[in-house]
């Protein structure tokens, strides 16, 4: 048991180090980058694009329990959520809460 417990601590430390590394290196680079520069604009585009890539991957090729739901349900819910978000003047509560309930129910059938 003790060995497993030590192992879990190590896994957590390795995960957090791997995560903090990118944030830390980002701050170091930021010291030399002006917000009006072209390189800042370029990184801004890359940041939004990698986020979009990550989110699309979470929906289409999910990790964890989400992979046990049907992809058609997930895509339909995302499209419905975007429409709902736009119709309700950018309210985020309706799309998030409703999508959770609808997907849980659909998956139950």
């Amino acid at each position: 048991m003790n060995e497993i417990s030590n192992n879990i601590i190590l896994v957590i430390l390795v995960t957090s180090f791997a995560t903090y590394l990118s944030r830390f290196l980002g701050v170091i680079s930021s010291e030399k980058i002006k917000e009006t520069s072209k390189i800042f604009k370029w990184f801004n585009c890359i940041a939004y694009a990698t986020l979009a890539a990550l989110i699309a991957r979470m929906i289409i090729f999910p990790a964890g329990v989400l992979s046990e739901s049907a992809i058609l349900y997930r895509l339909a819910i995302i499209i419905a959520a975007i429409l709902l978000f736009l119709i309700t003047k950018r309210n985020l509560v309706y799309p998030t809460v409703l999508s959770a309930i609808v997907l849980a129910l659909l998956n139950n059938y």
Binding site: T15, Y20, S22, I46, R90, T96, A100
Partner: protein, 232 residues
């Protein structure tokens, strides 16, 4: 040291209309339950969210842990999925840098860079005077980070009452919230194109390399969008 007026103004963004609290709460409740199911105890689960605070990284960690991956493999898998934090930091921190502010604030608060806090800061920074932005950001970050930690505890304690369908319902909240926030962020051609191309190219590259797909897709899509925006 920290201007509390701006700190709490940032902290209160948890109550705003585009509050990330709900989405963060749902996804970290799922993380708490997941960590319990794979054999973490409560302290370890709290420790994990406290130190990592990035959802995809924690998911990868849990999956790698179940299959007994080596520490090197876990490091590489987490680093790759969280490498997006580098361009996110580089496109945020220059907006917050001010010569009157001590450096430790930046190296400490970069820990709060995660999609939810980042998107909130990006859509609000112009309302704050530059020298106070780092304190405002530390408020947002502390609020979202605490929400994640508390939700991890709730998820861990509630895991016996959560069935699979409920877990799946919780897991869709985060992608839905992020998708809506991204749609809301589409204000210039460059950003809109970055987001649309990223959403197409990211999953496309998955067929070439699942591990590298986010970075390849994101860098290519972002660069294309940048050049189209600059030279159109």
């Amino acid at each position: 040291m920290i201007n509390s007026k701006y700190f709490f103004r940032g902290f209160k963004s948890l109550k705003s209309l585009d509050s990330p609290a709900l989405a963060l709460g749902a996804s970290f409740i799922a993380i708490g339950a997941l960590l319990k199911n794979i054999g973490f105890n409560l302290e370890q689960s709290i420790f994990s969210t406290f130190l990592t605070y990035a959802l995809p990284g924690s998911l990868i960690m849990a999956e790698s842990f179940i299959v007994g991956a080596s520490l090197i493999n876990i490091f590489l898998a987490v680093w790759l999925v969280n490498a997006r934090l580098y361009p996110m930091t580089v496109s945020l921190m220059p907006l917050l840098l001010h010569k009157s502010q001590p450096r430790w604030k930046y190296y400490l608060s970069c820990h709060f860079i995660a999609v939810s806090a980042w998107l909130i800061m990006k859509s609000n920074y112009q309302k704050i005077e530059k020298r106070h932005r780092i304190d405002f950001w530390m408020g947002i970050g502390t609020g979202t980070w605490l929400t994640a930690i508390i939700s991890t505890i709730i998820g861990f304690l509630a895991s016996d009452y959560l069935n699979k369908d409920m877990m799946i319902g919780l897991a869709i909240v985060n992608p839905v919230y992020f998708t809506c926030m991204m749609v809301g962020a589409m204000k210039t051609i460059q950003i809109s194109l970055s987001i649309i191309l990223g959403a197409i190219l990211g999953p496309s590259f998955f067929f070439l390399s699942p591990e590298w797909s986010i970075l390849y897709g994101g860098i290519l899509a972002g660069s294309l969008a940048y050049f189209v925006g600059e030279f159109k």
